[in-house]
């Protein structure tokens, strides 16, 4: 009682965990509410990308040959490497949640660090892909200036490519920021098997970023 804040100390009986906020009945209710809120946010993320997938579909139906030609200009090995890197990072995020559920704070920190490293590798590969495109004169929209492949409307493919992978890349960058935040808090020992909600929610976010790439990779690089 003495160590808890005045607001909770007066209103609640003992055995009140420090993380449990005033307006929730129990830790489980608080956790479920947070998680459902995250799922609602993830649906808005899915719909954000859906707008771009609709653009992809409409232009592909109009000019399918453009997308076949565009895919030949992308390197499937680099795209495939990045797919495996992101899948591995989804795995380590799932592991970090598994270990903190068992109260293993050290394994939590290691897996957050591994995830962060994988996200960083993804962006480095993407950097090399982008600079190689710019070197060839492949820019989005009207700025396309690669003479070797000049299928009519090829600009549409690269506008879609740069916007979709670019916004996905911003999500990866935000993910790295979130993992840095989680790593600092994990190192301070803030997370326990009783309370690890931020790890769970960032994990869900990261899996959605992975799923978006699972669709982008074949649609842009392969077919």
């Amino acid at each position: 009682m003495a160590s808890s804040s005045p607001a909770t100390a007066t209103a609640h009986a003992d055995a009140h965990p420090a993380h449990l906020q005033h307006h929730f009945v129990s830790s489980d209710q608080q956790f479920d509410a947070a998680k459902m809120g995250m799922w609602l946010f993830l649906v808005t993320e899915v719909l954000l990308f859906a707008g771009m997938f609709v653009a992809y579909t409409v232009y592909r139906v109009w000019h399918p040959e453009v997308f076949v030609a565009g895919a030949t200009l992308l390197n499937p090995w680099l795209g495939g490497l990045n797919t495996v890197v992101l899948l591995a990072s989804s795995f380590t995020v799932a592991l970090s949640i598994h270990f903190i559920q068992k109260g293993n704070q050290k394994a939590l920190l290691i897996n957050i660090a591994l995830t962060m490293a994988a996200a960083f590798v993804f962006l480095v590969v993407k950097y090399f892909e982008y600079t190689h495109k710019f070197h060839l004169g492949i820019f989005p929209g009207e700025n396309y200036a690669y003479a070797d492949v000049s299928v009519p409307y090829i600009q549409q493919f690269f506008s879609i490519y740069f916007v979709m992978t670019g916004i996905h890349g911003v999500h990866v960058l935000i993910g790295i920021g979130l993992f840095i935040w989680l790593a600092i808090r994990a190192a301070k020992g803030h997370f326990t098997s009783e309370w690890y909600t931020p790890v769970e929610l960032v994990g869900l976010y990261w899996h959605i970023v992975d799923i978006i790439w699972i669709f982008l990779f074949p649609l842009l690089y392969l077919i």
Partner: protein, 120 residues
């Protein structure tokens, strides 16, 4: 009741997570290989089917929706129905423009401008 551990949170087993990861990598290899083979019109549906399978694995096991509160499944399902509506209803327009006899691909504005120019 369905939870074995103290506080009601499902802990996904390590081997489940590992098998999910290995299956995802295997499906990535399959999608790369099948994309190199010319299957005609089947290439796109096949690649999409594999991608949907991979996404389902991530959602069910990594995001643990299989073991989660059913309301989260409902949230995701409603969202995905909206995505389907978004894609299909947009295609009802864009994929069939000019297919109906009395519909002109040009806008009314464009037609009127051309007619006005013809009149002088």
């Amino acid at each position: 009741m369905e939870h074995a551990e103290g506080h009601g949170h499902h802990i996904t087993a390590l081997r489940t997570l590992l098998f999910t990861f290995l299956a995802l990598v295997a499906l990535t290899v399959v999608t790369v290989i099948t994309a190199q083979i010319d299957l005609g019109a089947m290439n796109v549906p096949l690649a999409l089917t594999i991608a949907i399978g991979k996404a389902t694995l991530v959602v069910a096991f990594f995001m643990a929706l299989k073991y989660d509160n059913k309301v989260n499944f409902l949230v995701l399902t409603v969202g995905l129905i909206m995505v389907v509506v978004f894609v299909v209803f947009t295609l009802f327009d864009t994929a069939f423009r000019g297919d109906i006899d009395n519909v002109d691909e040009r806008t009314i504005d464009q037609i009127e401008r051309i007619e006005a120019a013809a009149k002088g």
